[in-house]
């Protein structure tokens, strides 16, 4: 019967059919629209129409919306933390260097030994730019803060963790029982406890374990803790990649006369790593977010700097604005990386 009827508007538009086509969907759509109608106007009012974009704390307090003037005023502090004002260009240069390198790394054509070398060189350069030395006046790591700390910690720990992770993954697949046990215990212990516990071990316990008088910088300790943490998770990803390389590959390489080291370096590892690039990018996003935990041991990364900005006596209490701004920065970084990971997965599948 219905087949004889001319196609209605609903039959021609799949979107309309899915939203209002049946009683259930009509009800769902209504609920969603009512929720949107309730949530959106106050949100827009707070974010934009009632917000204060220019002015001071008094004009902000008078208005009912967000105080974006606060972000404008404290932007430098949120991005750089307690880094000395006069040396700010150095920190900006470090940020530009690291972000630029991420951009370069996103191009699969450039992957190779040179890029790896560029990474190590840039990290060292960023540390030099921030910390000083030579012609640059020294800035102690306690003064480092904001975005450079977030970037340096997450990228640096990843680079440091990489060789360790490959070693752990290989050890976990070793024929030698003792080596295998060693890797399993190390990986599972680190994965079984919260990052904060490792961070505390590095900040509270490790200094006690050094000979009297010796000391290691807090920043370095946090970076080391983060590297160990990343290495355990990365090792499991690399292990999955190693498992996916067919046995025939290493047998073929051996029959060509390659040594086991050459087989590993030239045949097995490249294929194993290529297979798990997307999970590695996802892990990197997670680690980028986890660097915020250094706030708990009193370091001023981007999030903690944003929080500290809201404790400025002149601009006290604008926590919501600080959090929304920090969330936006993290979202831009992480969302871009997640989308890139999706694209990359497709790109790597096509031969």
């Amino acid at each position: 019967m219905s087949a004889l009827r001319p196609p209605s508007l609903l039959d021609r538009s799949p979107v309309l059919k899915a939203t209002v086509g049946s009683r259930g969907n009509l009800a769902l759509s209504t609920v969603v629209l009512i929720l949107a109608a309730l949530a959106f106007p106050p949100m827009v009012r707070w974010l934009l129409t009632d917000a204060t974009f220019f002015g001071n704390a008094e004009s902000c307090k008078a208005a009912s919306g967000a105080c974006w003037a606060f972000i404008g005023e404290k932007l430098k502090f949120i991005v750089l933390g307690f880094y000395p004002q006069d040396e700010a260009p150095r920190a900006y240069a470090a940020i530009a260097l690291l972000i630029g390198l991420v951009g370069l790394s996103a191009t699969p054509r450039l992957w190779g030994r040179k890029l790896a070398a560029a990474w190590i060189a840039s990290l060292l350069a960023a540390i030099w730019l921030l910390g000083g030395g030579g012609p640059l006046s020294p800035v102690p790591t306690e003064k480092w803060g904001g975005l450079p700390v977030t970037l340096l910690l997450s990228f640096g720990s990843f680079i440091l963790a990489f060789p360790l992770a490959i070693l752990l993954a290989l050890a976990r697949r070793s024929k030698l029982g003792g080596v295998r046990l060693y890797a399993v215990v190390l990986i599972e212990t680190v994965r079984g406890v919260p990052f904060i516990a490792i961070l505390y071990a590095a900040t509270l316990l490790f200094p006690l374990m050094l000979p009297a008088g010796a000391a290691i910088d807090k920043f370095a300790r946090a970076a080391a803790a983060l590297s160990i943490f990343v290495a355990a998770y990365l090792a499991e990803i690399v292990r999955a990649g190693l498992q996916a390389v067919p046995r025939g590959q290493s047998e073929a390489a051996a029959s060509l006369g390659l040594t086991s080291w050459q087989t590993l370096r030239l045949v097995v590892l490249p294929q194993a790593l290529r297979g798990v690039i997307a999970p590695i990018v996802n892990l990197a996003v997670g680690i980028f977010q986890d660097t915020t935990l250094v706030a708990i041991i009193g370091m001023f990364d981007l999030l903690n700097a944003a929080r500290a900005a809201a404790t400025d006596p002149n601009w006290i209490g604008f926590y919501a604005e600080a959090y929304v701004f920090a969330a936006a920065v993290y979202f831009v970084f992480c969302f871009t990386a997640a989308r890139y990971s999706l694209w990359l997965e497709g790109y790597l599948k096509t031969p």
């Binding site: 979107v15 899915a18 939203t19 969907n25 769902l28 759509s29 969603v32 629209l33 070793s174 024929k175 030698l176 029982g177 003792g178 080596v179 060693y182 212990t189 079984g192 406890v193 919260p194 990052f195 904060i196 516990a197 505390y200 071990a201 509270l204 316990l205 006690l208 374990m209 050094l210 000979p211 009297a212 996003v285 977010q289 986890d290 915020t292 935990l293 706030a295 708990i296 999030l303 929080r307 926590y319 919501a320 959090y323 920090a326 969330a327 993290y330 979202f331 992480c334 969302f335 997640a338």
Partner: protein, 398 residues
């Protein structure tokens, strides 16, 4: 155990202990011995420094300090604690707080996550897009930031006098979240024991019945459990124990009655649950998508309604894919509950950290911390694996 003996290849015997050791040691026993020796030396060196440093600070290594009196207060807990109780008791308060917030968080995250995961697959683009936005927002911002935001929001809520009441009996205010409770008049523990006992007895009866006369009908099972819960309550009321609903209400300057959650507990629990619900929703969505379309079609052609198709055919199969991933979501939620220290909720890490700062016994405290979380992780995995074997993979058992 019998099954493995049967499936073993014929003509192959298990290697003897010596062969096993030889295989385990592999080709380079010396290299392995060197590895362990090196580690041992490093541990010894670090340990010697530690003991020397502790002696310099006037500390003795060991867990004896746990018996000493702690001089700090703890904001909240499930067992009585006051400054002057031992450090061990303080740690126990923290452990219970961690377990409570994690367990409640997992429960809420599962309910939210499964609902959202199914909603994400809705043909209705308004619904699926809304869920997608929710998932993207939560996945691409740091958890710590989310917890800060929840904490701020809860403290921005109106005071007790103007408390919000989203549902009757539920009050939300800057003093925390208040839920109605059943007042058992001090007989809660006895009643709980009675109910558990009755449920176990009913299970036994049902099991015996099944042995005699095939599977019991669903209605009998439901009735039996209902009776098991209601009978002890009825008998207790018969003996004069009065049960009343304890609905939270404003008394004086604060809200009293019912079950209360402090703002910190509520912020942590909600933050963890909402954050985990995003990844659970993605897991559920992936698991459902992995079920071949033929299953849907076959179930529908049998005349099942969409809800029943989901409940009886698709979800049980999807659960096999979902459950292992869900387990790791629970594990990470439990570990993430340690972020409590950032918003001032006294969880295990927060209390142990205070203990370490007060006593200086960093090594012991870190060992306790690692031990507690490894045990919790192991326990969660074991429970989830047992559930997986018993309920999810039951079709595979022969």
């Amino acid at each position: 155990m019998n099954a493995s003996a049967e499936t073993e290849e014929p003509g192959r015997t298990r290697p003897g202990i010596l062969t096993f050791v030889r295989l385990w040691l592999g080709g380079w026993p010396l290299a392995q011995i060197a590895l362990y020796l090196g580690t041992l030396l490093a541990v010894f060196w670090l340990g010697r420094n530690l003991v020397a440093n502790m002696a310099r600070l006037g500390l003795t290594p060991g867990f004896a300090f746990l018996e000493h009196a702690a001089n700090y207060e703890i904001g909240e807990g499930f067992i009585a604690y006051a400054a002057g109780d031992s450090y061990a008791r303080a740690a126990l308060v923290g452990l219970l707080n961690t377990i409570a917030v994690s367990a409640l968080g997992c429960l809420l995250a599962t309910v939210l996550g499964v609902t959202l995961g199914i909603a994400r697959l809705s043909a209705n683009p308004l619904v699926s897009r809304l869920v997608q936005a929710y998932v993207e927002l939560l996945r691409n911002t740091p958890l710590l930031l989310q917890l800060f935001a929840w904490n701020t929001v809860i403290h921005l809520l109106p005071g007790p006098r103007q408390a919000l009441s989203p549902l009757p009996g539920v009050l939300l205010s800057s003093r925390g979240l208040f839920l109605p409770a059943i007042d058992t008049g001090g007989h809660g523990a006895t009643l709980a024991v009675a109910i558990v006992g009755a449920v176990l007895a009913m299970r036994l009866i049902l099991k015996l019945r099944r042995h005699l006369a095939g599977p019991s009908p669903r209605r009998a099972v439901v009735l039996a459990y209902l009776a098991a819960v209601l009978l002890p309550v009825a008998i207790a009321s018969g003996f004069g124990v009065a049960f009343t609903f304890d609905v939270p209400s404003l008394k004086g300057f604060n809200i009293r009655g019912g079950i209360s959650m402090t703002p910190e507990f509520a912020a942590l629990m909600l933050g963890l649950a909402v954050n985990a619900s995003a990844s659970i929703a993605e897991t559920v969505r992936g698991g459902i998508l992995a079920i071949p379309g033929g299953q849907w079609e076959a179930a529908r052609s049998l005349g099942l309604r969409p809800f029943s198709v989901m409940r009886l055919v698709v979800l049980p199969q999807a659960l096999r894919i979902i459950l292992p991933v869900m387990t790791s979501s629970y594990l990470s939620l439990t570990k993430n509950s340690s972020l409590a220290v950032a918003i001032g909720f006294p969880d295990l890490v927060s209390i142990l950290n205070t203990t370490a700062n007060v006593t200086g016994q960093a090594l012991e405290v870190i060992v306790l911390m690692l031990g507690a979380y490894l045990t919790l992780s192991l326990a969660t995995s074991m429970v989830m694996n047992a559930y997986n074997r018993r309920h999810v993979l039951r079709g595979d058992r022969r």
